[in-house]
Amino acid sequence: MAKSNKPIVWGLFAAGGTLTAFFLPALIVLTLLAALGYVPDLLAYENMRAFAEHWFGKLVLFVIVSLSLWHAAHRLRITLHDFGFRSDTLIASAVYLVAALGTIAAIVYLLRI
């Protein structure tokens, strides 16, 4: 029996899961704070823009955005399977396509900044 190639997507899923476990709660808190009108100076538009203009900032944003997408895609695929949707090839193709498009979009938009 041949070894599976699933580690390609599972590796991205696991890495993305580790990242989102840390960043998602922080993002929720910051979004709520911003919604309530408290925007810390560090997160002001100019500062965020300067961060995204630097190559290292771009790299950080790219890693977080793309890995989160791959994590979400795989999570959705498995959740649909657990809910009884059995057309795995179709579902896998669809969710990974979205993640791939999102990854390309992230590259394009980050390079434009």
Binding site: M1, K3, S4, W10
Partner: protein, 247 residues
């Protein structure tokens, strides 16, 4: 001693006479501290000698008496009647064919267990004169939890993936493969990976986690499978992105 009358609804099936399984209800006078296995033994001794079921140790060590008790995979020797209502439904473990009454055919599990080579394959052969294979407490701790498996197969009954995909090697066998892979004295990991790093191996697991919930020995097979996934992923990247690193 207080006595309680329990209605035991037991699944019966005799392949020689029955076309399909049916339920038979026994009214059993039970002592308060009994477990479901005691009630079954009462039936066998006093009410119906034709009832078939497996059991041996009566102390959650042998792993023989796993059954569906009120729909949940449970060792009947660990299922205290005080935790159940007056009517208890007892069925053979699901996902396995029924041999007779509560006895299941376990050939599929035995074959899979055999396939993952759940025994020590020494890294280097040592003669008796060279002495024992030594291991530090820290090295033992890495896998000790996974040695506690008693092969009771409750995890196979709990696993929806195994029910859906019978080829799935399943929780206990993969957890045991992981137990030997994690052993500092062992050198058989690559042989086992050929079996468990496959689609029918660990990658069929969708991490439902029911295996760990029903495990009577707290082995936590779900954790073992996730660790196997991480290790197999690292292997994959090494094999495909760093082929020069392969020995």
């Amino acid at each position: 001693m207080s006595e309680r009358q329990i209605q035991l609804e037991v699944l019966r099936y005799n392949p020689e006479t029955d076309s399909e399984p049916r339920f038979q209800t026994y009214s059993v006078p039970c002592e308060a501290e009994w477990v479901v296995l005691d009630a079954l033994n009462y039936v066998k001794d006093h009410l119906d000698t034709t009832l078939s079921y497996r059991w041996s140790c009566h102390m959650a060590v042998c792993g023989s008496c796993g059954m569906m008790i009120n729909g949940e995979p449970t060792l009947s020797c660990k299922a205290f009647l005080r935790d159940y209502p007056d009517t208890i439904r007892v069925e053979p473990l699901v996902h396995f064919p029924i041999e007779r009454d509560l006895v299941t055919v376990i050939d599929d599990f035995m074959e899979k267990l055999n396939r993952v080579k759940p025994y020590l394959i020494p890294k280097e052969a040592r003669t008796i004169a060279e002495g024992e294979y030594r291991q530090s407490p820290a090295e033992l701790k890495r896998f000790k939890q996974y040695t506690l498996c008693i092969n009771c197969m409750l995890c196979y009954s709990a696993c929806p993936e195994y029910g859906l995909i019978p080829d799935f090697i399943g929780p206990a066998a993969i957890a045991l493969a992981h137990r030997y892979n994690s052993d500092s004295r062992d050198g058989g990991r690559e042989q086992r990976q050929q079996v468990i790093a496959t689609k029918e191996g660990v990658w069929e697991c969708s991490f439902v986690g029911a295996c760990s919930e029903v495990c009577p020995k707290h082995v936590d097979p779900a954790a073992a499978l996730q660790q196997v996934k991480i290790a197999s992923t690292v292997d994959w990247y090494k094999e495909h992105l760093m082929p020069w690193g392969k020995s």
